[in-house]
Amino acid sequence: MGFITSAAGILALLDESEDQLRVFALERLNQITDTFWPEIADSIQKIERLEEDANFPKRELAALLVSKVYFHLGSYLDSLTYALRSGPMLHQDPNQLYIDTIKVHAIDHYIKLRAQKDAKMDSRLETLLNNMFQRCIEDQQFRHAIGIALETHRMDWFKEAIMTSDDIVGSLTYSYKIAMQYIEQRKFRDEVLEQLVSLYQGLDTPDYVNMCQCLIHLDKPHEVASILDKLIRNDSLKSEAMDNELMAYQIGFDLYESATQDLLSHVRQGLRTTAPVPSLLRHVDPPATTSAGSTTSSTTATTTSASASASATATATATSTSPTSTTDTTSSSTEKEEKSETEGETGDTSMSEEKTLDDLTDLEKTHQTRVEKLARILTGEMTIEQHLQFLIANNHTDMLILRHSKEAVRASVCHTATVIANAFMHCGTTSDQFLRDNLEWLSRATNWAKMTATASLGVIHRGHEKEALTLMQAYLPKESNSPGYAESGSLYALGLIHANHGGNIIDYLLNQTKDATSDIVRHGGCLGLGLAAMGTQRTDVYEQLKYSLFQDDAVTGEAAGLAMGLVMLGSANEQAVSDMVNYARDTQHEKILRGLAQGIALTMYGQQDQADNLITELSEDKDAILRRAAMYTVAMAYCGTASTPAMKRLLHVAVSDVDNDVRRAAVEALGFLLFRSPEQIPSMVSLLSESYNPHVRYGAAMALGVACSGTGQKEALGLLEPLTNDPVNFVRQGALIASALVLIQQTEATCSKVKDFRQLYAKVIGDKHEDSIAKFGAILAQGIIDAGGRNMTISLQSRTGHTSMTSVVGMFVFTQFWYWFPLAHFLSMAFTPTCLIGLNSELKMPKMQFHSNAKPSTYGYPAPLEEKKKEVAEKVTAVLSITAKAKKKDDERKKKEQKDDKMDVDEEKEKKEKEEKEKEKEEKKKEEEKKKEEPTFDLLSNPARVMKAQLRVVKMAEGSRYTPVKELGIGGIILMRDTKPEDSEELVQPVPALGPKTEEETEPEPPEPFRYTEESIS
């Protein structure tokens, strides 16, 4: 036995003249390469020469040897080249690390070659890859096989991998996920999705839900429509596992959640043509539903109230008030005319149509009903209604928080902030209690603050579309000499209520904007119009906005620029972009430039590399605002992609631009790029958050807030915490707002820091020496963290993992509050209710329960503020600040009021007269509570508040008669299949919306159960 210490002897043999000796040497060397490669590397040229010698008998051996030496030298491409020449010998090599490395590089190299269309493919490489792929299949490594197939753009492999896999459904889901997440080239992604659609189609039980998801991305509304039609047309597809009707409805809800307005309208059109009586679908509400036997009292009520309001508003036209909530928003104006023509004769046609309906057979009748239901779902009406119901019923706003901030602040900036915070807290709950209780306080808002305050009603009544006009009636433009701030706000509010779901309100807003007399009203009108007509690309709207822009009025122009972008959202319309860019270069007004900068960015939403030229052009502009527009465009065009080149560009600008605003915008944009992978962002901005430049620090804070919104991520909070103590006031503001974005809906169980931050907000607001800019942030933060009655969260991606367009746009425009406070209201679009709603086939909420396998406190509501605490705090301020007697009196009066309040709210405490005793008892109570063992599960009743993290532990309650159509874990609205259809169902009673009732109304409304609701709320 012996081991050599040097390969020199064997290497010497290579110089011998006999082939036999050289072959012998190669064999020996091949055995010892892993140890002696440094020595062999010196004579590698000799071996290469042997390999190239056509007469040499063992060229493959030589190639293998060279390859191994290059492998050890770390020169992998050379190694791969020689490995390919070594042929079958490669696979016999005992060094597994070497084989693996070569394989990895072979795959990489192959991917690179496949990406270059004209590259010459090495057939040996292809064979190698083929073998590897086959082995993956044989070893049951189907996911690897799918991955390789996608990476190498080999559709044939892709199909084979999925079809041979043991879990075809799982593989399909997996492929869909990686296709959406990792494939950046749009064209190839479409190819993959098409393949997936055909695979889904081929399954034994076709997976229509996922199929439609793919089709949304492929932008093929007609295929979606035909699938839906197929599902509702006959019951032959019905089986134990699947109820085709419910499935169609479910797809409808999913579609509304993830598709654009444009696509949805095409689907609806497609559906309409298949319906037995297509014309009926235009007026679903009164006649059709009655005849179909599924009337809802609410829809009838809508019609009455809508028409009532129509008569009240002088300017409203017949078109906009006629009850056509399901009519399509089409881009072509000709169709528009045609529609209004038909609507003009509503009365007559509906009569004749009813007759035709009677002629239908039973089968056709059911079909007709189903089409109608589906159409209502697709308009989003159902979703909005259900969400509204959920938010109203579960409103858990803590009024005390608002009251604290209201009393603590004096500055008008903070006043505005409180109004906005109130709007956020009550977003979608329709509860404007706070505003009505504090009318006097509210009247302090003047000028633009008044506009903001009025618009905040729009946020509060978000989605409350049926009575939108009635609600805003008091403020809508009339013949008067007022400056028009309230009017402006009301139009803006209408836009907020109808955001991304314009329907007929678009025309109303269009006319209002056209007829507006002052620039202020026009400002609100433009904003409202932009919101309502978001993404519709309607030419008439666009032209009107352009006309407003060209007035060269700073106030109007700002809103018009933004609104143009909203209307053209994501269209990359060349004409629109060039209009905006050219005007931006011409105008003298900074405000208009700002608006246009946002507009341009929005137009390029989701365009990815198609926007590159524009970005490059803008980022080289001399004007800082246009450069900022470039940064916004990066944020919008690449949102959620985490594209490396885009991030490089942003990071470069973030540290090199001379303008502070541009740098801030660049850093903020990082947040938009990375919201899909929030765990990456803290490390990326950690250095930036320590920048010497406060604007960069602010940007870093906001980027964290945007990317980690709703996650409660610890790293992000770790970075934000020091920023809340920043010496610069607006950095503190940014950090406070961002922390609220991160912590929204987090409980102490899911994120321990939430309590500290809540206290911090209160502290900042109460602190006399704190700057009002930071206070502004703290107040807003309070609003955000408890948004929508504590039932909403912020997520820039939808439940199914799509980029949620409205959320992204809402968040983006929200960040513009830096320049223009009213834009803060846009955040309402980014809020999504965290709900789990079960619906039956009649699209009603049956009474049912969900089983949440977690302690109730883990995901529960935070405890409401204690009244007493507030009093203590107030005493301190009273001692410190009040000198005037009048104020003292005022304070005492307030205290009294609060005491009264307290008695109402907390009856238990009422019994105790002395505070001391009360305290003791409370403590005892707390202890008792602790001692009491918390149940390990919770039963939630429909509609349930289920947080994102909680979805994982939620299942149907045991013994429930309902079974979900799709997995509960996705959340949102889920159709339920009734297993005992013969039994009668118990339905959840719809909750009436809150809000002011106009006194002019002639019809006596049912008495508002006001007292009752308030008790149930608190």
Binding site: A12, D15, Q20, L21
Partner: protein, 275 residues
Amino acid sequence: MTRDSLVKTVVSTYEKLKTEWTKKNRNLDTCGKFLSDIKVELTKLHFLPSMGHSVSKEELLVARNTLEIGALWSIANKDIPSFERYIAMLKIYYMDYSEQLPESAYMYELLGLDLLCLLAQNKVGEFHTSLEHLPPPAVTDNVYIRHPVAMEQYLMEGAYNKIYLAKGEIYLAKGEVPAEGYKFFIEELLSTIREDIADCVENAYDRIRPEDIGKMLYLSGTKEILEYCAQRGWEVAKDGYLQFKKEVRKNDDSIPSKELAHQMINYAREMEQIV
């Protein structure tokens, strides 16, 4: 063929080679033919064992002895690369298999020759590496090794004359020569040294008389000197001096101040920009 019979064939070929080699008037070509035959046959056995094979002593011995003859044969053939190859192969047997074999009588002689060979080619680094592999007593006591070590010392000291003297001694007193093969390498060494000195002379002098250069280069006769001059391409001028053409070296020592300043400013700016 079984292993034993293979071994037998190799041994018989080796015997033939040995008889041919020990003859007075040996035929180098025949020896070369035998050598390559044996090597080819050895490849079928455990020639140059690498990874812990157990090899019979006989095989090892035959291989070693053949290679030793091969090395000597290379010197006789004045084929230095071939010599180096044999030595490289032999080292496996000398170093890695020293425990399984009795020490060869030729070992130190061949190793010494190897050292000298490296020295002659001015591969001082490798010389020392090889030296490190030898046991310390051998370096100081063994006559074969001591000689190249001494040579190297002279070389390092610059005492070229001593090397020249050593050569003289070899020729004068035959008893001092460690082995026949050394002469060959000493010649090689001297010519290497001569080249070295000649390089230095070229730089050190503008012009020099051929006689003086003869002394420096240890060339005795005028004829030899002139031959050497012709070989180096030196020309004797009319005044009897050798003229050396000096290469004009470009002087480019100016400091690239502008570039440096530019770079520094760039760094400074970037430092400022970083966060």
